[in-house]
């Protein structure tokens, strides 16, 4: 460990020389520090991803007992021609759009409601209760929502019957299953948007709020000019994180409907799961996974872009 390293830490990276020289120089330190993570990264990401990319060009089923057969773009062409996959993908995007929309709207509303709650008795407990849905094991909540929704034994249908209506098989009817799954996701993740809204509100300078008070700005202008102006970055991040997470939704579906009835709740993560670990059609699944990887990278790039746009703005300021 070079204790005589130069005092200025954030020097620009330099081209490295021979190995021996390299070990003795101050560039060694960052590399040493990064080595474990890079090792993890190479073994658990680079290698598997290469594997995935390669296998996408092969026809390979684990249960066929045959070695992979090179087939060029066969898997990709077959995915492109598979209208079912496109329906699953578009259903997934509809799902993402709806849950993120509803959760953001509801989250904003509740966040504003909780804004001024510092003197709420038992605030910490109340907030814990509010935030709990997002940390409960999804497999567990999925299972239990099945019971809550159950048309014969479920508590929800008991209420519906008590009001004199016919019980509804929420998760089993093609017309209601999608909405029912969506509602559980909203239950799970609206608290997240509440959290983000509270953070966004917290970032608004008190002085400006007081100034708005003095100027007697109407509430919608106050919201737009003061609150959104300062909070929009955090809200934006919240929306993006939720979008990415909603795109991944799987545990919940797995437990509540398994994609059914028909394909009413089949999201693309479930499609991939089914083809990979039910049918063991590994070549085809690898190709689909590559496509999903590209979509995820696009999402992440957007996220980073937004994140950096703030840094640039702050740097400019």
């Amino acid at each position: 460990m070079p204790s005589d390293a130069p005092a200025i830490a954030a020097a620009p990276p330099r081209r490295l020389g021979g190995f021996a020289a390299f070990l003795g120089r101050r560039e060694t330190l960052p590399l040493l520090l990064l080595t474990p993570v890079l090792l993890f990264f190479i073994v658990w990401n680079v290698i598997p991803t290469l594997w995935l990319l390669g296998l996408g060009f092969y026809r390979f089923s684990l249960t066929s007992g045959r070695p992979p057969i090179f087939s060029g773009l066969y898997n990709y062409v077959s995915i492109l021609n598979d209208a079912g996959v496109w329906f699953d993908l578009s259903r997934t995007f509809v799902f993402v759009f709806l849950v993120v929309g509803i959760e953001t709207g509801l989250g904003l509303l509740l966040g504003l409601l909780f804004w001024n709650s510092y003197d709420l008795p038992g605030r910490r407990i109340a907030l814990t209760m509010l935030f709990s849905p997002m940390v409960v094991t999804p497999v567990a909540s999925g299972t239990f929502w099945r019971l809550i929704y159950d048309p014969t034994f479920g508590v929800l249908n008991s209420a519906i019957r008590a009001f004199g209506f016919q019980p509804v098989s929420f998760l089993q009817e093609a017309s209601t299953a999608f909405g029912a799954v969506l509602a559980v996701d909203v239950w799970m993740w609206t608290p997240f948007m509440v959290l983000m809204t509270l953070a966004a509100l917290g970032s608004v300078p008190k002085a400006e709020l007081e100034a708005a008070e003095v100027d007697r700005l109407p509430w919608h202008q106050r919201l737009r000019l003061v609150v959104l102006h300062h909070g929009k970055f955090i809200l934006m991040l919240g929306v993006l994180l939720r979008t990415i997470d909603a795109f991944k939704t799987m545990d919940l579906i797995y437990d509540m409907t398994y994609g059914g009835p028909g394909s009413a709740t089949e999201l693309v993560a479930m499609t991939l799961y089914r083809r990979a670990f039910e049918a063991f059609n590994m070549g085809w699944s690898s190709a689909l996974a590559v496509i999903l990887l590209l979509i995820s990278i696009a999402f992440t790039a957007t996220f980073i872009f937004v994140l950096h746009s703030r840094e640039r703005r702050e740097a400019a300021a």
């Binding site: 960052p30 993570v37 709650s117 497999v139 034994f153």
Partner: protein
């Protein structure tokens, strides 16, 4: 008076969100017939039989221990190596920092079934399936992006003057990391630890695919124990769930100030 009404509304909102969880916990103190009773029963004489049955099951203790071992080991490893990497990223900004940070994050953004597929194929080839080492390291890998992001943000926030002072006073870099930086970013370490812990604790799919008899955790036990010989095993599910959700909910209560940092990969700081 208006203030009271306002507080009442807030509490009602919190209760509405908590109600399904409360229903699970209530159910765990009911008999099987009471759980399925129509109309639902709200007041009843609670029974501890479900919990007694649960603790009598060998597979429960086994899976619970696995859950604990996997999440603690993976998270500690992940946060340790991430801390070093985050320090390097923050202080030395080696070439490709942004790109690497970006790649790390996009892995975390991948749907679980797509993420586990290539790892499964690799484990098939290397024979690493159902091994604690393989499981822990994979979970650690999955916790790294998150930890690096959080910790880099925190270390960025520590002034470089600390490093310089340390260096001038003859401290080694390791000494600086351990004695000067670490105490200052401790809240970030806590946030990284608890949020990765919740993630691994709740994780189902990876354990299900690349785990096995030896390494199966509670979510896997829950999914495979749905049915008893007589139908859906609601008493088992409700008791197991009620126990299992205690740690995450406690985390939310105890570490409420870290909630925001944790939930946003450290990209948003602050308290609620």
């Amino acid at each position: 008076m208006r203030r009271h009404l306002y507080h009442l509304v807030l509490w009602l909102v919190a209760l509405v969100f908590f109600a399904p969880i409360l229903w699970i916990v209530l159910s765990s103190f009911k008999t099987a017939d009471q759980i399925l009773a129509v109309p639902p029963i709200f007041f009843f004489r609670p029974t501890l039989a479900n919990y007694a049955n649960l603790f009598a099951r060998a597979d429960f203790l086994h899976a619970f221990l696995n859950s604990l071992i996997l999440s603690v080991a993976a998270v500690v490893i992940a946060v340790a190596v991430s801390f070093l990497a985050a320090f390097a990223f923050s202080r030395f900004r080696p070439a490709g920092t942004n790109f690497l940070m970006f790649l790390l994050l996009s892995i975390r953004m991948l749907p679980g079934s797509a993420a586990v597929l290539p790892v499964y194929l690799m484990y098939v080839a290397f024979g690493w399936k159902d091994a604690f080492g393989g499981m822990i390291l994979f979970y650690a890998m999955f916790s790294i992006p998150f930890s690096v992001w959080i910790l880099k943000g925190f270390i960025d926030g520590v002034s470089q003057r600390f490093d310089e002072t340390g260096l001038v006073n003859g401290a080694s870099w390791l000494g600086i990391i351990a004695r000067l930086i670490f105490p200052q970013v401790f809240p970030g370490v806590v946030a990284a630890l608890i949020f990765n812990f919740i993630f691994v604790w709740n994780e189902f799919l990876f354990d299900y695919i690349i785990g096995g008899i030896r390494t199966s955790n509670i979510p896997v036990l829950l999914a495979s124990g749905l049915y008893s010989n007589g139908g859906v095993d609601w008493t088992f599910i409700s008791a197991l769930t009620s126990i299992y959700i205690v740690p995450p909910i406690l985390v939310v209560y105890v570490f409420q100030r870290y909630l925001l940092v944790g939930m946003t990969f450290g990209t948003v700081r602050g308290e609620v």
